[in-house]
Symmetry: C2
Subunit: 740 residues, 2 copies
């Protein structure tokens, strides 16, 4: 509607807005062009400038440029600038030494990074895990030297000078992208674009949930912000739109995302592929949007924007910070060449010249060091104050305090596993998705950190917690999360929840086949050690009529191949309970539960203990560990194996039936145990699973037979497809007879 | 900006807009409330109504409601309504008979479906593959009975009455979601939400590209629209935002998407998870947006909106059509219960009552049948006219006609494979990603349908076609597509391009690990038989410092497990050329090329012919098909296997080295051939691949040894990681000695 706003107009509009009046607030506006002293020793920076009108998109939006207000900020501008340049050169030097990395983002984002870590955020560098800390996520993870430099200056022990010098080297604590499992002080694992902003939505959800659940009128015991820096790449990824749509829907007012609007991505100017109006999109998603036009040196603009963002309580805020990638590099700034490569010795020198930086590589000037040194004592003080507050809280609200403590520490309540339901062969046949719901509803009563939901399939995935309402903007204390049809965002949000506090046990759900939509997030769960529980129903052709687009085939194999994932496919009630026990205990690796849509018999011989071993014998009429044949099944096909065994035994065969619910757990058992289940001497082995046979040779051996499906599924009633695809008792019996 | 617009205001605004004046065009506005005759035999429909103000989002947007203009449309309203109800009841009856399916969408979308297929679209039902047809995509694929009913009425032979009665049954042509490979007349395969709208972007891109390349001032030989119906679920998925952002960027003016705004998804009212302003988001993405407030009976509104959309040439159009899911069902309309289940006999009866439908199940009233019968002759005429036009075109522009014909028919130019580059062991060592670029640039000269690009990694994936410019809004004749950081959208867009015409050979690229972002689209490529070429570089820990977030581990295994995918991992120049030969020839299955970032030696013994067999011997000093040991490698590890063989041979061993570039192709060979490469009697087999060992037992057998990586990667220089992870010549030699 409004046409392109010139800076002055924007400021005017902004001033009006702040005042709530129509009179121009001239003294405020007069602050809009502060003259920075900069460093006196050098000529003005040669970085190209351009008029925002001709170059920048977003002019047609209604987004206001931020007004300039001075925060309670007393640091001299010259020292700020020196600190900012320290950050820039730590990044430049580390990338140069490694001859690998991404200097462009840290050089452009150093000002906002400085302001966040030095002026805005509350944290304790000597205890990076302090519960009530502000969270920071570098969604544009390739710019990790920004974060390492900031952690270094702030006094985190994990990033010392030697670590910066070991950037991207074997065994270092400063890997090529931020990894929470390598570097204390890094909250999540980023690099794959868009994951970080979605993680941040999860972190902010976690805070809002805990605050609503545990804060009291006289004690705001949970109270922190979540800050993000994201780039153009994050913005283009669909996952960020999914997560940000939810953040707007949920009104996550303490989520503040700084968008590094540098107009450059790897392929060059973003004009070649990214001309949408980001501001307007975020407004459409229900965010508050602010534009900082000068992110390179507009310190006060950045401060004012953050202040404004914090004042907006009912919406997340996107601060679009227009920066120059590689700011300070006279020949490479504002080009893709500074994005992902070392500057090279010559350009490093030129940048030192240009920014007036006389120091050796990795040097932190004394005044900068001294300035930052306050964070260790200040952080200790913040934590001590909070601890005292919590002690008070505990006295008054002992029950709530115990719950919160469990979430903070991750300690599982004693005897929690007694809540798991048990079943007998006489229990009614049921779909494991329904049995899963019984487990969830039993566990939520004993696990204070359990919460989650489905990607718009709650009534199919059977994930509703019946004694809780929906986590929504105005009911954030509730524990049913409604993700909408946003699988990828859902997974990454759950990673954020899981990494917020060790006692969170997030679960999320969709049809198993749609793990394809969220695979990148599941992989990050595995890598970043987030114990998310993936409740994946409709796990085979057994879903029937929806057909091949909805029928997983290769998915079990594809997750068995993925490191640090527990792929579980329970066969009945006891195994579903066992799968939940495993999933809850394993807080450092995600569990994927593949669950049936269709009813399954409760089988004799299944057990929670068996599931914990991954593979185990559920029935056997052989002796001396020498069955004629071993039948191996998982999930819905275990009952087929059991039925085949019954028939074979009638014909005089010695048959063992093995449930192979989790390959990973089985291969973690002792050799003796494995031999007791799958004796090497018994090569007559038949497996049956309604999925790809890929990988089954590991179990059945070269002489065994894997019955499975190595084509896409079909649309028809489930029983018909099973029969047509040969996933039948008869097929097992025939194979067993052939082998034994 | 603008406050909530009431209908009359919106119409006024619209009228002003159309006139380009400020005077209110009252006669036009007076058309805004046409009184439909409806069916006289029944009382007014009991479907709940609500005030748009309280119920609907989007009120704060600037989107105009569409004005009502009568198209050149002479069908009586009563007949239109009868046709619309025919569509509704065909859907109701088929779902009822199958006792499975989704009646809600067809009942709500029948009016727009009718208008598209009966009044707007150009097609030839007797030749569903006629090149210049309008394309239609049902992105909300679960509503497939809408499309089947329309194809049936329009006279497509693939959907006859018996097919409707066989809905969702084994072997039918009417599966549970639209599948192009089952049903001629269905363009793409949908169901997984968001894929369809992204496919449609690809279809529209294809049209825009061909039109720019082949149309002449005197002959518009390429000229069709792409229509889509998508729902709330599609809108929530990140992939749709990715694809629609690109559609806006590219200015795909002939893409018209009708958004079934029914406010209901599986979990209930979309208010629980989806409150963003979709209109505004699409405007931000550069789309023209129109709102049809009454999609249930507002035929003229729908017509006017489509007319307006067609008039907007430089932007794609989103028509938000507000409908009632399950329209006509007195007790289930406007609730999730009508989304995905049969209505049940009682409610079917009540709906028949309510809509005044006295007919038997599956009945098409004679007047409706007669009305639709004109499409067969009209379609034949359209095609005949186009054929005549093409004959003219061919006379004048023989060269262009030949190219276009190749794209239309999919026939590869004779001798095209001669363009493939060849290499000798003396050729310089190079990364296979660079060798890939040599192939792409050679092939683009001989394959008129080759086009593609990267998800913002063109300079890393090495995918630029050097003799072409960028496909952009104003240069759509070019062949380098810039997808931005949107892997998922990219894959689905390429599926759309590939299915537009058999001669299109779309390729797309990112880092191999980021196939995780686009896995759902790759699976659809495989299922829908789109021969997309996936150029996936940085295919292992060999990428080095970027670390585990960027290093694929399980990806080779995960695609080997996926049906109908060719997973190729070439080792050098000849194998890269071979991989391209395979990829180009296989037009009905996608090929994934895993390519190295790092330099690889050109190996003796590699060949294009070898690659075509999937696995083959590259060197052997044994005789009688009895080597002491077989060393098996793929891609960058083949040179390690070769080097190990050299050392072992020096020690007197008879060693065969096998390149296993594509498992799928190998297992398609004759038993004799397979035995000649991997003789059953030789169990001493060592494989080496910088990826998960999962699945390798199939190749190396129970007695062999698979060297690989079953953990996540690490951030360090590549050589260091190879060494630390034991992906070395020494490890191969040690394993070989142990086994032989």
């Amino acid at each position: 509607m409004a046409s392109s706003l010139h800076l002055s107009q924007a400021l005017l509009a902004r001033a009006v807005y702040l005042d709530g009046s129509n009179s121009c607030c001239s003294d405020r506006v007069s602050l809009s062009f502060p003259s920075f002293s900069g460093l006196k020793s050098h000529s003005p920076c040669k970085v190209a400038t351009w008029s925002s009108g001709s170059r920048r998109r977003g002019g047609s939006s209604s987004v206001r440029a931020t007004a300039v207000e001075t925060l309670d900020q007393t640091t001299e501008v010259s020292l700020v600038e020196k600190s900012v340049n320290t950050i820039r050169f730590l990044a430049i030097d580390a990338v140069e030494k490694a001859n690998s990395g991404h200097p462009g983002l840290p050089m452009g984002c150093a000002p906002m990074g400085h302001i966040l870590y030095d002026e805005v955020m509350r944290y304790n560098p000597k205890n990076p895990s302090w519960f009530n800390r502000d969270r920071f996520v570098l969604s544009a993870g390739h710019g990790c030297m920004l974060q390492y430099a900031l952690l270094h200056l702030a006094g985190y022990d994990t990033v010392q000078e030697q670590d910066l010098k070991n950037f991207r080297q074997w065994g270092s604590r400063t890997p090529g992208h931020p990894e929470n499992f390598e570097t204390l002080g890094v909250e999540v694992t980023t690099g794959p674009l868009g994951q970080g902003i979605a993680n941040a939505v999860g972190l902010a959800l976690a805070e809002k949930h805990l605050a609503a659940r545990f804060n009291k009128p006289d004690s705001e015991i949970v109270d922190h912000y979540t800050y993000v820096i994201l780039g153009d790449g994050c913005q283009m990824e669909g996952i960020s739109n999914e997560a940000c749509s939810l953040a707007g829907h949920w009104g996550l007012g303490k989520l503040i995302a700084l968008y590094d609007d540098n107009h450059i991505s790897i392929d060059g100017d973003t004009e070649i592929a990214f001309t949408e109006n980001v501001d307007k999109r975020f407004e459409a998603l229900g965010w508050h949007v602010i534009w900082v036009k000068n992110g390179n040196t507009g310190y006060d603009e950045i401060r004012a924007a953050i202040k404004e963002a914090k004042a907006v309580k009912d919406k997340p805020t996107l601060i679009k910070v227009t920066t120059t990638i590689g700011f300070g590099s006279p020949n490479k700034a504002n080009s893709y060449s500074v994005h992902g490569s070392a500057l090279g010795a010559k350009e490093v020198d030129a940048t030192r010249q240009n920014l007036g930086w006389p120091y050796e590589p990795f040097h932190v000037p004394e005044d900068v060091k001294k300035h930052w040194s306050r964070h260790a004592p200040q952080g200790a003080k913040l934590e001590a104050e909070w601890n005292a507050k919590f002690a008070e809280y505990e006295k008054k609200y002992s029950e709530e305090a115990a719950e919160l403590k469990a979430i903070i520490t991750g300690e599982l309540p004693a005897g929690w596993e007694k809540a798991l339901p048990t079943y007998t062969p006489e229990s009614p046949a049921d779909a494991t998705r329904n049995l899963s719901q019984q487990n969830l509803n039993a566990l939520v009563n004993v696990l204070p950190g359990l919460l989650g939901g489905s990607a718009d399939l709650a009534s199919s995935n059977m994930t509703l917690l019946k004694s809780y309402g929906d986590f929504q903007k105005n009911t954030p204390e509730e524990r049913n999360v409604r993700f909408g049809v946003r699988e990828h965002g859902m997974g990454a949000i759950c990673n954020g929840i899981g990494l917020h506090s060790p006692g969170f046990i997030p679960y999320c759900a969709t049809f198993f086949v749609f793990t394809d939509y969220m695979r990148a997030a599941i992989r990050i769960s595995a890598l970043c050690e987030a114990g998310v529980i993936y409740v994946m129903t409709h796990d085979s052709i057994g879903l029937g009529e929806d057909g091949p687009t909805h029928q997983p085939i290769e998915h079990l194999a594809s997750f068995r191949a993925m490191p640090n994932v527990l792929m579980l496919r329970p066969a009945d009630g006891n195994e579903t309970a066992g799968a939940y026990k495993v999933a809850v205990v394993n807080r450092k690796r995600p569990s994927i539960l593949a669950l049936s849509r269709q009813k399954l018999t409760q089988l004799p011989g299944t057990s929670i203990e068996g599931v914990e071993k991954g593979g185990y014998t559920i029935s056997d009429n052989s002796s001396g560990n020498k069955p004629d044949v071993i039948l191996i099944g998982t999930g819905s096909e275990l009952e087929i194996a059991a039925a085949a065994a019954e028939d074979l035994r009638k014909e005089g065969k010695a048959v063992r039936v093995v449930s192979f619910v989790s390959w990973e757990l089985f291969y973690e058992q002792s050799d003796e145990y494995k031999e007791s289940v799958l004796p090497a001497s018994v090569t007559a082995r038949v497996s049956i699973e309604a999925g790809a046979t890929f990988g089954w040779e590991r179990i059945v051996g070269s002489k065994g037979k894997a019955i499975g499906i190595d084509r896409f599924g079909a649309s028809a009633p489930a029983g018909k497809i099973y029969k047509e695809f040969g996933i039948t008792k008869e097929a097992v019996i025939a194979a067993a007879k052939q082998l034994s």
